[in-house]
């Protein structure tokens, strides 16, 4: 039974990872966004926006709860795929916010794949913890 669940989870995970198309992004938009979001959170010494699937998160957001922002993306991306240029436009705040949401939000929205965002900030997501929680309360409890 547990094996079947593990297999099902593995399958579901795989399905997310390899999801082929986008709902609302065109391939051109997606390519620019891949470059821009990777510039905001690069894949340098560890997974960044690309590995987190931030572009998939943005596609989902623009197809659902942030559909009203799709036009802003269409207009904003006409400035190109260079973050140094985009940073000077009003679109930057929206893009940055979505990139962060896609990196650190619940994986159920298509981003933060494999919890890479949470791993980066050192957050281990569990339903229960026991004290001590951190270094200083640990140190205090020894005394």
């Amino acid at each position: 039974m547990l094996g079947q669940i593990a297999l099902a989870l593995e399958h579901a995970h795989h399905a997310v990872q390899t999801k082929p198309g986008f709902s609302v992004l065109t391939p051109e938009m997606a390519a620019k966004l891949e470059a821009l979001t990777s510039a905001i959170i690069p894949s340098d010494d560890g997974p960044g926006a690309r590995e987190a699937g931030v572009v998939y998160f943005i596609d989902r957001a623009l197809a659902t709860f942030d559909a009203s922002k799709l036009e802003e993306y269409r207009t904003g991306l006409t400035a190109g795929g260079d973050i140094a240029v985009i940073e000077k436009t009003p679109f930057f705040e929206t893009l940055r916010t979505h990139t962060i949401m896609g990196f650190l939000g619940s994986p159920s929205y298509g981003g933060n794949r494999g919890n890479v965002g949470w791993k980066h900030i050192g957050m281990d997501h569990r339903m229960a913890w026991l004290p001590p929680f951190g270094y200083y309360d640990g140190e205090a409890s020894k005394k």
């Binding site: 159920s108 900030i121 997501h125 951190g134 270094y135």
Partner: protein, 545 residues
């Protein structure tokens, strides 16, 4: 659950099921009255709660939805108010107690008579309360024992006398609490374990907190947070006399020719208008929605002969200083607040302005909010520098947050917007608010104290949030103020409307002054006291049972 027909005249309709409404529902139904609770939001259970930051912190899963119920905002009446989510409140059975952080401070004795202690403050409605700490003390105790509050009584040298300790021992201290205590003690201050509405041990059939870390903004999946949803509302339902009716959006309190309340008109979940008949009405809709409903109920406002319904709105004031430390604090685990101090609570004329506050140690950021709002101004906005800072800071940052005074000013108010309507076609609530200069000075002065504590605790660096930034008000106080004189107050000392003998307003709207925020304990103590008065005087109030 017992259900009632709308045509049946019940003893009480309670509007709102939050901190006060939940208590009123339980107390009145347990005393034998028939009660219908109208709640605009859904009736969620612990299985409906999760840790989805986007849903809770960005998409209003448990709070008012600006798209459906717009608030408008302006700084003063020379401006035209624009749609702004100026108010945040809990929407759903249990109200704000479902998603609140759980801080549970009693007011101090001096909070009820500050006008006598400190004198008039020009341009404000600064006044004493008509009741004292001693009047409320038994009800604070009752709330702490019925709901389940963890803390250590008598340890805070500044608190008023208490007849009983908290019902549960304090929660375990976090790293933020240890560091705060270290710094504060070096400065000769008196930090103490935070009193919180979260169970440190099993209590009344509910299990102890598992320290998952998602209290503020989230609903508790283990029923360890002592919301009215899991504490008193189930008791009310069990009496067999109380119906909780979620999805009921109230439009109006109906009055008869004699001016007595005779029912409540509301929209059901399918936006059909209904009227529940009742012998008496208790309005517990919070400090913003309670005055809005009174103003909607009658031209000029129901229970408004004083003209003060909606006036003296006070804000959720407090200033933030962040501190970065060498080692991981892992503040994402465990409840938000484990240590508090009240050394600067009392106003001191020597400071040159009125005001004071409590300070607590916490980190109330979820990951996205920290990345967007929590890091220092000079952090790069993108690139390797941004990513590196995020990785290094999330687990090593904490904050000291003050909870401070908000002076009552008549021009700060809730009124009906003349043009903007909500999704039910009702006028939006319009908030007019500007800070009093003393309140801003208090927050800045407290930030200096917070900074000193951080320095004494060995913080590597500190950074502040400017005290004049705009944020939604979540502690909704002062719009139906309590008093003896019907010309200068809206409700009497037992929260009953001066003008309508069978209408009670019981929530933060009753507050005469703000104390130092953290209003939930006092809202609930007022509710226990109002209910007790109703039950004891049922014949005088022409209420049978």
């Amino acid at each position: 659950m017992k259900t009632y027909s709308t045509r049946e005249t019940v003893d009480f309709v309670v509007i709102g099921s939050g901190a006060a409404g939940g208590v009123m529902a339980k107390e009145l139904s347990a005393a034998g009255f028939s009660v219908v609770v109208l709640e605009q939001g859904p009736w969620l259970k612990e299985k409906d709660f999760d840790h989805d930051e986007l849903a809770h912190c960005f998409h209003s899963k448990l709070t008012n939805d600006q798209a459906k119920q717009p608030y408008t905002f302006r700084k003063d009446d020379s401006e035209t108010a624009a749609p702004v989510r100026a108010i945040e409140y809990g929407r759903g059975v249990g109200g704000g107690t479902v998603h609140f952080t759980g801080n549970y401070w009693r007011f101090h004795e001096s909070d009820f008579r500050e006008r006598s202690l400190f004198g008039e403050i020009a341009g404000t409605g600064f006044a004493d309360w008509p009741i004292s700490y001693a009047d409320l003390e038994p009800y604070y105790t009752k709330a702490e024992w019925e709901l389940g509050i963890s803390g250590a009584g008598g340890v805070n040298p500044f608190e008023g006398p208490r007849s009983k300790n908290y019902s549960l021992p304090p929660m375990p201290v976090k790293s933020s609490g240890v560091l705060f205590e270290r710094g504060a003690r070096k400065l000769g201050l008196h930090p103490y374990p935070a009193p919180v509405a979260i169970l440190s041990q099993p209590y009344n059939g509910r299990g102890a907190c598992t320290h998952c870390g998602f209290c503020e903004s989230f609903g508790c999946e283990t029923r360890a947070k002592s919301s009215t949803l899991v504490s008193v509302i189930p008791v009310a339902v069990k009496t067999g006399r109380c119906e909780i009716r979620p999805g009921s959006y109230v439009r109006k309190i109906s009055v008869d020719k004699q001016g007595r309340a005779n029912g409540v008109i509301y929209f059901d979940g399918r936006k059909r208008e209904q009227m529940q008949k009742a012998r008496a009405v208790v309005l517990c809709a919070n400090g913003a929605e309670t005055p809005r409903l009174l103003l909607q109920s009658k031209p000029g406002g129901l229970a408004n002969s004083s003209g003060l319904v909606g006036k003296y709105l006070m804000w959720d004031n407090g200033g933030v200083v962040h501190g970065l430390f060498e080692h991981p604090l892992n503040e994402y685990k465990g409840i938000q607040v484990t240590r508090v101090l009240h050394d600067f609570y009392r106003s001191d004329p020597k400071r040159g302005f009125y005001g004071g506050g409590g300070i607590d140690a916490r980190f109330d950021y979820t990951p996205i909010r920290f990345a967007l709002e929590g890091m220092p101004e000079d952090t790069p906005k993108w690139g390797a520098g941004f990513k590196k800072s995020l990785g290094e800071m999330f687990n090593r940052t904490m904050m000291l947050l003050s909870h401070s005074t908000s002076l009552p000013q008549a021009k700060n108010s809730v009124t009906l917007d003349p043009t903007v309507k909500d999704a039910w076609g009702l006028p939006a609530a319009r908030i007019t608010f500007a800070q009093h200069p003393d309140d801003l000075q208090t927050m800045r002065w407290l930030q200096d104290r917070q900074q000193e504590i951080f320095e004494a605790a060995g913080a590597l660096r500190t950074w502040r949030v400017p005290v004049d930034i705009f944020y939604a008000n979540r502690h909704l106080m002062g719009t139906c103020r309590m008093g003896v004189d019907a010309r200068t107050s809206v409700v009497n000392p037992f929260s009953r409307a001066h003008d309508v003998s069978n209408l009670w307003m019981v929530d933060g709207s009753n507050f005469v002054t703000s104390a130092r925020q953290q209003p939930t304990a006092t809202i609930q103590a007022l509710a226990y006291r109002a209910a007790d008065h109703i039950v004891r005087n049922r014949s005088l109030l022409h209420l049978k049972v």
